[in-house]
Symmetry: C2
């Protein structure tokens, strides 16, 4: 399915961009991708600020020029306009449960990994929070982040002992958010899923076997 | 409009509960409310944990017993089942813009106010993050919180110079999230909107004049 009137500004190394790429691949949506070079700090350039004043990736630009930032907002637009293979749930009850679980995966997993990385990375001094404002790193957040990631791993293991996927018996956006968080914690912080977490490893193998995982 | 098969577990003093009460009042939805006494720590009781294992308020319980936690997930369920007076947008484009602005109001406003209060309050030592896990307070987050709230006030003033409401020309959930954050910053941290922020004060008067504001 092609939507060549849509443009996605994104970066190959950005976990938030990966959440959108994974979503697009699951739904088989093709659109124009515009790489933003984070290494060269292109996201803080005046040219990019005219596209997204928050100066973060990804941004989805619609045919009429409307710019949508924030990963869940981009995913909502894509789901509404491409309702095939729903990733945000079908009934009101299922949509609410997917939203609840996706938010927990983000707030207790994804956002914690990002916070831990941003408060530790030497290259992000004075840039501890993505966006237009400069905030100093807080070392105590790195220590707390390690504890919170361990809690996230334990909570996810318990949840996946009850259901096949994070939000229930169907694959959903909550699985995408969780696996991207887990993958980034492994690569950027060397904090992989504990070997004894059998349920999470079973789920991880299943999610990683989807072609969209490579997106 | 009555939905007596729905039960909302909530607390009068909880800003997250207020976000849901405001939303219900705007849509004219009546449901059964069950007060949870946060002063008596009822939310960490075993009885409440059986309703919501995250041990936070609010929780919406459906007629079939399904428990929905997380404010945006509860609001999504209510919008899907009561589509009158939409607060989450109508078209795909509008839904995405409302989601984007609501998230910015939450992440840069509401969540920052909550973080600042939780990391400062004497009664919340060892409970700096709501939920089932114990995390110590981090004093540096209180200092950063004051800076972030000042940035939030300035960014909101700039935005409201462009549009009547946060997400555009129509009142939406993003206005609810923003006004509850602003009100709580004023009351709990003595950080009101700066007097010179004329656009925000114009918007604030308009939002506070809605009957739902008292919910």
């Amino acid at each position: 399915m092609s939507s060549t009137m849509l443009k996605l500004y994104e970066s190959s190394g950005s976990p938030n961009s990966r959440r959108v790429r994974f979503f697009l691949a699951e739904k088989g949506i093709c659109l124009s991708r515009v790489p933003v070079d984070l290494g060269a700090k292109e996201q803080v350039s005046e040219a990019y600020a005219r596209i997204n004043p928050r100066r973060v990736v990804p941004t989805l630009v619609l045919a009429d020029g409307t710019a949508i930032g924030e990963v869940p907002a981009i995913q909502l637009y894509l789901e509404e306009t491409h309702p095939n293979s729903p990733l945000l749930g079908s009934s009101a009850r299922e949509k609410a449960l997917v939203a609840m679980w996706d938010r927990q995966m983000e707030q207790e997993g994804f956002a914690v990994v990002m916070e831990t990385v941003r408060n530790a990375a030497a290259g992000l001094k004075g840039r501890a929070i993505a966006g237009p404002h400069a905030y100093e790193q807080i070392p105590a957040l790195v220590e707390r982040g390690h504890q919170r990631i361990a809690d996230f791993h334990a909570d996810l293991e318990a949840r996946l002992g009850e259901t096949a996927f994070v939000a229930g018996e169907r694959f959903s956006v909550a699985d995408i958010t969780a696996i991207v968080a887990i993958d980034f914690a492994t690569k950027a912080l060397n904090l992989p899923i504990p070997k004894s977490n059998a349920e999470t490893r079973r789920w991880c193998d299943s999610v990683a076997s989807r072609p969209s995982f490579a997106a």
